[in-house]
Symmetry: C2
Subunit: 300 residues, 2 copies
Amino acid sequence: MGDDAALFAARKGYETILTCDWFLERTHFLRELHPADAVGWKCLARAASDIAAMGGEPRCFLLSLAVPKTHTGRWLDEFLGGLHRAARRFGCAAAGGDTTRQDRILINVTVLGEVRAGRAVLRSGARAGDLIFVSGRLGEAELGLRLLRSMAARPGNPLARKHLYPEPRLALGRWLTERRMATAMMDISDGLSTDLRRLCAASGVGARIEVGKLPVVGAESGLGARGFDALRLALDGGDDYELLFTVPPGKAGRIHDSKLPARVTCIGTITRDRKVLLIQTEGQEREIVSRGWDAFRDRY
Amino acid sequence: MGDDAALFAARKGYETILTCDWFLERTHFLRELHPADAVGWKCLARAASDIAAMGGEPRCFLLSLAVPKTHTGRWLDEFLGGLHRAARRFGCAAAGGDTTRQDRILINVTVLGEVRAGRAVLRSGARAGDLIFVSGRLGEAELGLRLLRSMAARPGNPLARKHLYPEPRLALGRWLTERRMATAMMDISDGLSTDLRRLCAASGVGARIEVGKLPVVGAESGLGARGFDALRLALDGGDDYELLFTVPPGKAGRIHDSKLPARVTCIGTITRDRKVLLIQTEGQEREIVSRGWDAFRDRY
């Protein structure tokens, strides 16, 4: 800290992973809706999730921050509080950054991580016959955001927390990588419909997802009565930061037998045919269209 | 490229250097004044200069870019043209990034570099008696900017080029590091008056700079007639991206005897007394006050 750049000694036998992420007022958050400490937590969690998606461990981060003069006091203190809580949680040390002034809040986070040499899991390794898994429940963060916006939930609500303080699946990513279980992996940041298509495109394959297997948000939240569609939330909701990964059928048994660091669900299979299909309960098929988050279209 | 993060294998016996830099419309450049390809060149050159200042070699970079819809066509092509020209020149490969939309142009560049383990030169190593050197001529970039703004120069003018297309002193930084010549080093990005005070503060020392030794912009540009003050430009002008470094007196002879990759000038000495002083031609002393670029105060 305080020098022109940060120094980092890579561990022997490890490769370095590098990722960066925008977190911009109005595009990715609203200063009226998102508490400052959630902005601090989430900007690092998003980037750390990219490290989890490669099977790596975050080691250090750089923060580029631009703030208005009005936000250099209490807002900044709370922002740094959330950021440092996340840094401790993810084992990721502050290594430097760049600060400037703008009339809106601009954040860019770079995370440097490590993965054992040759073990990183890319998006491009899925093969026909592989089983498709996701961690957690899909659509929770999107639902949390909608509840926050409609004032139906406070920041402490579990669904709201999933949107405000996401937990990147670092332990699961490492577990899968250490055992060479996953052929392809990525995090679901923009919604399953968008991210699954990306994984399939990178691997040159297709997928069949069974609607009945999707881990959707449950009825306990009284969704139906509020007019929320749990399937749409699971397919198109953004910000879940769950892992999407593929496992060869011969290894899938080990996943079901094991004590995993997170709940995972098999939702379908990879196909040679490049279509990405949703299989309805009655067996009808329909194409899954990318309807997740799109930074060139969506904003708050 | 195309995965959640970039992978990088560190060379044996090297440490990784990491730096990031904002380059924001209105704070750091103006879309009317700065050609798109200069914006592309300079955003990478600025970050690569931080690697030069540690004595390292840039290896790869991440680009975080936010652009208005109106700038996704020709502007973006020219921007990427300048960026890739710089990347080839600095030996720095594109390794990924993040793209989004905003109504103004926001750029953040992360550069990952390498330096032989234990050889990185910090700001904090200057000791009393060390000689102070700078590369190049100071104030050229600031003068180039002023000429551009007053329409007195076109982008091809050598002074304008120094502002628009800075060349980080990578070869000089490496030369000094390989020979263990420098005790402290940083790049002059905000102006000598600001950056020298930072180096002295980090090292817990002071400095005596001799006004007659400063490599100022020469009379050939007809400055006096235009009302420019060459000394002020040299002390407070930003964006030069020259190197400021200190050398123990016993090693300074090797600098004068050598074929260096860039012209360097000895401008003074480090003192135990923490004052940072300018010594006038007649011997009077005055404190050097930080009057360089300040992102929390200055804008175009």
